[in-house]
């Protein structure tokens, strides 16, 4: 395995702490820096930055405006790769929008769409594209194949890397009442470039756990340790928390615990 970077997301309200922090190799950028962010110049200077913004859903082709934005942000960050998600969260006509990650149907038609649009986007980028798995809270009758198989077939037909979000795997395994290691085994781990790790907390609407800006549990860190043995191309592990309620203590402790786990 190559030298593994351990980092977090850039949370602008923690700009001062992050500008002075130690033990963090990289920061993922979920939003462009605000023009009045006093810490941004220092952040850009000292960290490897990973583009992890919403560029567009690849169930449709990205238009020129979205591609130009992706290229501009990747250049600004000097990002070693560019991330997007296996998601389809707004209707084709733009009327309805969930504003939250939501997976596509796992069908041949959606596979063709994502392959074509990811390949088209990759041709326009100067950096490799990586794609992140998205959890489903419920099964959809119209899906025609397991998520892991759909992803494997996607990666077989593209040069994209895999951004493996482990809490997403953990949650799906939890809600399907299967062991997360067994659930993980079917995914194309040999294509993993980056991993996400996060905490989970009970959610009152879901009546069960979901991603939260808290420290990862020991079980999550054990799953990370296990996964890394099967991800020979992994280059980075990122503490996936981006929220105005996240504290500097939680962020730094989480990164330290992830580093110890890898």
């Amino acid at each position: 395995m190559a030298q593994l970077m351990v980092g977090a997301f850039y949370n602008p309200h923690l700009g001062q702490e992050l500008a002075q922090a130690t033990g963090i190799d990289h920061l993922a950028m979920a939003d462009p820096p605000r023009a009045d962010d006093p810490w941004w110049p220092m952040i850009r200077e000292r960290y490897t930055l990973l583009l992890h913004d919403y560029l567009g859903q690849l169930s449709e082709p990205l238009d020129e405006r979205a591609i130009a934005r992706a290229r501009s942000l990747a250049g600004l960050y000097r990002s070693p790769w560019v991330a997007e998600h296996f998601q389809c969260l707004h209707t084709e006509d733009g009327t309805y929008n969930l504003n939250y990650v939501f997976p596509p149907l796992y069908t041949e038609a959606f596979l063709d769409r994502f392959v074509a649009n990811a390949n088209a986007l990759q041709e326009r980028l100067d950096q490799p594209l990586v794609m992140e798995n998205i959890p489903g809270f419920f099964d959809v009758a119209a899906s025609r194949m397991p998520e892991a198989l759909w992803l494997r077939r996607f990666f077989d037909r593209t040069s994209a890397g895999f951004l493996l979000d482990l809490p997403h795997i953990w949650l799906e395994a939890h809600y399907h009442r299967v062991d997360p290691r067994a659930f993980l085994a079917d995914f194309p781990l040999e294509r993993v470039v980056e991993l996400h790790v996060a905490g989970v907390e009970p959610d009152r609407d879901l009546e069960g756990p979901w991603i939260a800006p808290t420290e990862p549990s020991e079980a999550m860190l054990e799953l990370l340790h296990h996964a890394l043995h099967h991800c020979p191309q992994a280059k980075a592990v990122t503490f996936d928390a981006f929220s105005p309620t996240l504290t500097a203590d939680v962020l730094q402790r989480s990164v330290a615990r992830i580093r110890a786990a890898v």
């Binding site: 009045d36 567009g56 859903q57 169930s59 449709e60 082709p61 990205l62 238009d63 020129e64 405006r65 979205a66 389809c88 969260l89 707004h90 209707t91 084709e92 006509d93 733009g94 009327t95 309805y96 929008n97 969930l98 504003n99 939250y100 939501f102 596509p104 149907l105 069908t107 038609a109 959606f110 769409r113 809270f137 419920f138 099964d139 959809v140 009758a141 119209a142 959610d203 609407d205 879901l206 009546e207 979901w210 105005p244």
Partner: protein, 258 residues
């Protein structure tokens, strides 16, 4: 139905609470209704959390004085009561949720006495959140430029707001987001602001001028550029510059002339 249409139906069901109770949706039997409902409610709380955090950021800063954080309404009975009627992104839902937040912040003990411009500020935040709502253009598509070149008649965009305030809020807004120990004050002077949204969803605020006020009143989708210049008493260059600025922020769009 195509797979894309099925996906759209799922997205609508998660976003549109009344749609979930229609026979048309139920007969599709795409997902366990109980689990889908739980996820829809989770999404609704998340959707409006993000908006309250963003659009009510000044009230959040002032919570140390008012004791009222706007986003706490999302865990209250008022928001729970809306869950059966919310349509994520709709104007009506934005108004309902923003009103909950405004009422909550204004009801803080002595809040208005301690922050004289609180009424204006919360009205401004309410307007920002409402203007942001509505369907948006997610992709320009390949024919957008060709179509745009055919348009010629300016019309005030739906949802664009002109708001009058007793305090000059643009002076105090940036100060509130910087570190402070003594509450920043807003000068008390009548101020009119224009709030508009671009087709892609970016919300902009601008002070108005006489020319802007007049153009927004006259741009009814029927008057040509020549009509507008004459009625507003503007020179062609002045008209063009003002219209370009209004189009850029989404306050005015061009429709096909009749």
């Amino acid at each position: 139905m195509t797979d894309r249409e099925i996906q759209d139906s799922l997205i609508r069901a998660l976003a549109d609470a009344p749609f979930r109770s229609t026979p048309g949706w139920r007969e599709q039997r795409l997902a366990d209704p109980s689990r889908l409902e739980r996820f829809a409610r989770f999404l609704a709380r998340h959707y409006y959390y993000e908006r309250l955090i963003h659009f009510f950021k000044y009230s959040r800063v002032l919570a140390r004085i008012t004791g009222r954080s706007p986003e706490t309404v999302l865990t209250g009975a008022g928001f729970d009561g809306l869950l059966e009627v919310l349509v994520l992104g709709s104007r009506a839902s934005a108004i309902a949720v923003a009103t909950l937040a405004v009422d909550h912040v204004r009801a803080g003990d002595g809040a208005r006495d301690q922050v004289p411009y609180l009424e204006d500020l919360t009205a401004y935040e309410h307007a920002m959140m409402v203007v942001e709502s509505g369907a948006r253009v997610w992709s320009d598509g390949s024919g957008a430029e060709a179509t745009r070149n055919q348009w010629s008649v300016p019309i005030r965009a739906e949802g664009t707001m002109l708001l009058d305030f007793a305090y000059d809020l643009p002076v105090v807004l940036p100060l509130l987001l910087k570190p402070w120990t003594e509450l920043p004050q807003a000068p008390r002077r009548p101020t009119r602001l224009l709030i508009a949204r671009s087709p892609h969803g970016r919300v902009s605020v601008a002070r108005t001028s006489t020319a802007i006020d007049m153009l927004l009143q006259l741009a009814d989708g029927r008057k040509s550029l020549d009509d507008l210049a004459r009625d507003a008493g503007l020179r062609p260059a002045e008209l063009q510059a003002t219209l370009e600025g209004l189009v850029e922020i989404g306050a005015v769009r061009f429709s096909l002339g009749s």
